[in-house]
């Protein structure tokens, strides 16, 4: 492959980097220009849209069978090139996923950021860079690249969490996030070093070959190495027991950032986890990680839901609910089933669930942002009588909450159907039962919001006039949540095609 073709494969990342730099530059040039500063979010969204276009351009080049097309360090310099990233179905899926997150969050952040902080350009630039790191992480096929991109994502997330410098809760959340994150990434790096020590390579596929080849004498190192890697990635996903940072960080962070954090880093964590386990350690599935993941999934679902029951702040409630949702998604990874035997391979369930969760959660947060913009806070009591104050927001929120519970005809139902289906297919009945019981438990706290919206009495019944752009974002999300469920076939096919290569490895 010549150098130009090789750079072409990196087009989405290059476009996104350039977009972030342009937003930084424009912010500097327009520093004192309020009127022009209002255009910054639009430039960020434009950057995301161009990245989506670039992703569509590289889509046909994605590897479909055998080894994925790879970006390599040292390409074009002569000598050995070391593969660092893959362009396969999974990478394309997460590129599109990231772009959607960036567009939705970018559109819904405008008014909130305008109100809360004078520093605007950095916010959008950092958000684009966080998106870039998700793209890099989900495509990485080398332990070094995985670590660097996850660290990149963590650092941008810390800054975004502590973005409201004058708000002590924002700073507190960022500090907690940072301290947990520093510990988790150190542990993960140590786990990676054990993997490298045992196999002598950092390339995921080469690790699997080395482990299968019999040249590795220290197989007992694999379990601790895997658990340590899981600690670092579990921190990103906010799996129990690595979740303690998330409620504080979610509550303290600016609400658009909370929306981003609850979807973006989770997706990156799942992408890396799936790639790491399936590419590097497929041989240890039955012995080690299927059981570990199933255990973590059960604890995560149960604890997330039980603690969510007691929350009165909507951001905190959604934080715990997102912990529980991550537990459901993890079922997909724990209960992998061979593709030949069923339509639910677990992996496609995971992606489908993530896709449904993207629109559901970002939509719910968009409603929270719209209400917070008017009332100044985000407690469940602020939702009282919403049906009279803003029927549109109330009905949209109802759709998102139903989707979070998993009631048809919403996208959340489809996601749950696929992951629970996978659990049943691979005879992990306990996992499916715990998941279903938890879904029932979760109805209680989602219903608390619903009953406030429809039957609660607000102190002032003044209508909440959401900005047109917020209405648009909420509306699109609500339509997508319904569309994924009612017109499911293309989305199921997208999820199934995206995992084809990974699923073939076991």
């Amino acid at each position: 492959m010549t150098l130009n073709q090789f750079l072409l494969l990196l087009l989405p990342e290059i476009v996104l980097t350039a977009a972030a730099c342009v937003v930084f530059l424009l912010d500097m040039v327009w520093r004192r220009d309020e009127a022009r500063g209002r255009w910054l979010p639009w430039f960020a969204v434009l950057g995301a849209v161009l990245t989506a276009a670039a992703t569509v351009v590289v889509w046909p080049m994605a590897g479909t069978d055998g080894r994925p097309l790879a970006f390599a360090v040292g390409q074009g310099f002569g000598g050995d090139a070391i593969p660092m990233m893959a362009l396969d179905g999974l990478a394309i899926f997460f590129k599109l996923f990231t772009v959607l997150v960036l567009i939705i969050v970018g559109l819904s952040a405008g008014e909130y950021i305008q109100k809360h902080t004078p520093f605007r350009g950095e916010f959008y630039a950092l958000m684009l860079l966080a998106g870039l790191s998700i793209m890099l992480a989900s495509a990485a096929t080398n332990l070094v690249m995985i670590y660097l991109s996850i660290e990149f994502l963590s650092i941008t997330s810390y800054v975004l969490t502590g973005y409201l410098r004058d708000d002590p809760r924002s700073t507190e959340g960022a500090i907690k996030y940072f301290i947990y994150g520093a510990g988790a990434s150190a542990v993960m790096l140590y786990g990676f070093s054990l993997l490298y020590g045992a196999t002598g390579t950092t390339d995921l596929a080469a690790i699997a070959t080395a482990l299968a080849g019999g040249s590795v004498t220290v197989h007992w190192l694999i379990l601790p190495a895997m658990l340590m890697a899981l600690a670092g990635l579990g921190f990103k996903i906010a799996l129990v027991p690595f979740h303690q940072w998330s409620p504080d960080a979610y509550e303290g962070a600016p609400t658009p950032v909370t929306a981003f954090l609850s979807v973006g880093p989770k997706a990156a964590g799942f992408a890396v986890l799936a790639r790491l386990l399936l590419t590097a350690l497929p041989a240890f599935r039955a012995d080690y990680w299927a059981g570990v993941l199933a255990g973590v999934a059960i604890v995560t679902m149960s604890l997330g839901n039980l603690v969510a029951l007691w929350q009165s702040n909507v951001k905190r409630l959604l934080a715990y609910s997102s912990i529980a949702q991550a537990g459901y998604m993890l079922i997909g990874l724990a209960a992998l089933a061979p593709q030949a035997e069923s339509w639910t391979t677990g992996l496609n369930g995971l992606l489908l669930y993530l896709f449904a969760y993207l629109f559901t959660n970002l939509g719910a947060f968009a409603v929270v942002i719209a209400i917070e913009n008017r009332t100044g806070s985000a407690n469940i009591s602020d939702f009282a009588g919403l049906i009279r104050r803003s029927p549109f927001l109330a009905v949209a929120m109802l759709i998102f909450l139903l989707s979070l519970i998993g009631i048809p005809p919403t996208a959340g139902f489809l996601g749950k159907l696929f992951v629970f289906g996978a659990a049943v297919q691979s005879r992990m009945i306990l996992l499916a039962v715990v998941g279903i019981v938890n879904s029932v438990v979760s109805v209680y706290y989602y219903y608390a919001i619903m009953s406030q919206m429809f039957f609660g009495k607000a102190e002032d019944e003044e209508p909440i006039g959401a900005a047109p752009i917020m209405r648009l974002v909420v509306g699109i999300n609500a339509v997508m949540v319904l569309a994924i469920a009612l017109y499911a076939e293309p989305f199921i096919r997208l999820a199934t095609d995206s995992v084809q290569m990974l699923a073939a490895s076991f």
Binding site: L3, C21, F24, M28, R31, G76, F77, T217, V218
Partner: protein
Amino acid sequence: MLSDFTFVGILVLIAVLLPVVGLGLSWLIRPKKPNPVKQSTYECGIETIGDTWVQFRAQYYIYALVFVVFDIEAVFLLPWAVAYDQLPLYALTEAVIFVLILALALVYAWRKGALRWS
């Protein structure tokens, strides 16, 4: 495999024993005759002025951060410069883009007034 780790073990053992034995032994056999000059803080031979626990201004971290921009630049440009005559044009472009991105960071810090001491 095991013998390799034995060497590491021996190294760890020596590394721990050396300072412990050295310091412990000298503590045991040294004469103890303190006087004010001996107990004063040694910095550079000149008498210390003021308290040892001076507070540094936290704003220094911004200078440290800006310094990192140049630091990283030097770290990556050195190997590039050493191999310069064997590299294709592509490598030159790459280095220019790299420097431009770092320059953006510096300009950003500059515009934000990070280089002004207030």
